[in-house]
Assembly symmetry: C2
Homo-oligomer: 467 residues x 2
Amino acid sequence: MPHLGPLRCRTWAALLGQLLRPPRTVCNRAVGCHSQVAKAVLTSEQLKPHQQKPNFIIKVPKEMLTEKYEDNFGLMYDLEDQGGELLSLRYDLTVPFARYLAMNKLKRMKRYQVGKVWRRESPAIVQGRYREFCQCDFDIAGEFDPMIPDAECLRIMCEILSGLQLGDFLIKVNDRRVVDGMFAVCGVPESKFRTICSSMDKLDKMSWEDVRLEMVAGKGLAPEVADRIGDYVQCHGGISLVEELFKDPRLSQSQLALQGLGDLKLLFEYLRLFGIADKISLDLSLARGLDYYTGVIYEAVLLESPAQAGKETLNVGSVAAGGRYDRLVAQFDPKGHSVPCVGLSIGVERIFYLVEQKMKISCEKVRTTETQVFVATPQKNFLQERLKIIAQLWDAGIKAEMLYKNNPKLLTQLHYCEKEDIPLMVIIGEQEQNEGVVKLRSVASREEVTVNRESLVAEIQKRLSES
Amino acid sequence: MPHLGPLRCRTWAALLGQLLRPPRTVCNRAVGCHSQVAKAVLTSEQLKPHQQKPNFIIKVPKEMLTEKYEDNFGLMYDLEDQGGELLSLRYDLTVPFARYLAMNKLKRMKRYQVGKVWRRESPAIVQGRYREFCQCDFDIAGEFDPMIPDAECLRIMCEILSGLQLGDFLIKVNDRRVVDGMFAVCGVPESKFRTICSSMDKLDKMSWEDVRLEMVAGKGLAPEVADRIGDYVQCHGGISLVEELFKDPRLSQSQLALQGLGDLKLLFEYLRLFGIADKISLDLSLARGLDYYTGVIYEAVLLESPAQAGKETLNVGSVAAGGRYDRLVAQFDPKGHSVPCVGLSIGVERIFYLVEQKMKISCEKVRTTETQVFVATPQKNFLQERLKIIAQLWDAGIKAEMLYKNNPKLLTQLHYCEKEDIPLMVIIGEQEQNEGVVKLRSVASREEVTVNRESLVAEIQKRLSES
């Protein structure tokens, strides 16, 4: 465990800037919203002196939330505030973000947010589903020219997934209007759109045959309608598939589908310019369960799980997903003003789980601390000197630790450094004390040199910058 | 808002390391605790192959939590899980940390944690108190030689408060045993310790006369007992006060007080070696409300609020506090095994509020994004080139943005950069396009130079490293 080291002004200014910068995080609160904090997080645009104090509505009626999540209503954690009003723990970060925009009358915002969300599930039943888990969201809100923010969201998704080195991945894209248009031209009755959509959503876990059976036998869809859907949901490809679908005699009957295809075409052009077109595949089977999406939708899947080479098989589903939701903010706005949004969510626990598996397989060791230097002594009664030396290192911003013992054994200290992979050791004993020096030991090579006390910090900094 | 930039492997490895390293954060969960995640956060010590899978107890009975917070019981948010079992949102980070140690049979751990806590208060009533707020905790758990971890906690508190540049501060320290010993020798009946303690805790907001009145008239303390307390609570000073109190004829009657004083003496020695003794003052009026403290207690106060020079007066109380709690873990352990702990909590909202006030007074402008380069065009139909250039910058890890418009006006783009304090602009138009160059503009100086497309990234990196 590293010591914080001397927190230099610049570092803290940066940290504070960081904390103050995407501060919307602070306000998308599970339990109400306090105007004091909300004030602190207004964008600079809002701080114009002529502007009135925003009129905050602290609570969102439960009824509104249940509407957003419909089917998942039972999964919300309810709690009562002191006035007996019913509140809920947030179910995701998207709806609170939309609410925040509406409440603060913000017309544009770009922000990321990492936070906990809660679902009232039985944690043991569904593997990989927790009652409390962490989501990382990125969203772009505002009225912009078509598909530029959408393409940026996909670019960000690619950067994150590439950076995490989880192996090869693919982002499936589709458009809600294409899904609805496809259902319409295939002959799905409008009343069945939702339920057929949710069957289709199972195609990543079930075969088409099983999904078809569910549609026909379970949900009463005419077999020929199911077969028409079947033709489409097996389509996937790049911009050439978009072109083909434009010419599809059936699908091109739907104005809605054509709008979606038009945007997808533009999207693929931008993805090409962003250098990520090869990572994206139009997949007509992608539906995305949530009701609030209105345009492009996407979902990232790993093509080869890190465990495939090993013993265990992993099925973690999608690791990131998102889409465009243009009408959600309007639902929170008293006047119904809309703010178009597009965004993405990353499943932090799922990714952690994958990274963990990967490390297990590769037997990679992860340091649990960032300690750079350990301050040791081979003799008794050197606590005072160790404290002085460690304070000197901390003052210089070096991550240093020592054992919290008056008289630790040298061997214990050596073993600790090896176990914790600490690169350097400073050793002070009677002889060094008398000569005004210390020993600087490289833990890996076991080489020791004698260094003057005054030049210790500089020598350590030199070694650390070289490594 | 900065773009994430290309997330280079090293950066992400570091980020992941960061996320995996103090991962206890993940597990001190408000709502239950999932073994899958808990497994991911075991310390390396626990991952020894011979060790059995830890036997997790997922829920902590509400009754246990109510016991910990006694008086504040009504402030907890309750919720029910699917089995109808009563759960609560966490009230602080200390009790969940103690519980985590006990559940995982951890004998030592050093960790920091930043997280939300919830209190079921009416947010409007008490200024500066929120129903949901953020705490930042640091704790050292384990059996160690006396006062070494305690001194490190105080050192960390000093580093953080100095680094935040909130102005001059003082950390008041005391010891619970000194408080209890003092009450005993002054003649406070044991049944009144708690309530007299809570009166004493008000000395930072009330005068001694008012507190005395509360003790005598309100709580039935004999006036001469109150006066004896009065003599002590006005004492504050450094190590010399500790020495004096050792010789105090009344206080030295209490073995408990002498133990506390012995530890305080050692603490002051270590604080001197750590170079922070001038920031710490023994203050016999410090009591700390929470019941779980057993030894040294401390609380940081600002000596001059940032607003003193300005119009508003601020009263934010303490900005950080903590102490030693040696018996809390045992209360969660089925066998009652104890793990001594010492730690601190920082009030993030209070500090934000102060920083905000400070910036308001100094008219300091804080950038709301980290954008380094803005990609602009003075002409129509340059979206494709802008997208290509921005992708090139992102690839190089440069934080770049552009307007999400097909054909933005140059003036709009210039104004945006000035407003957002973006240092550099890349401008591409027809002439530049034809010549294979771009213009690189310094937003502050308005100077423009022509740069070859191939050397753009290098030129920007050079400029950024110089600034």
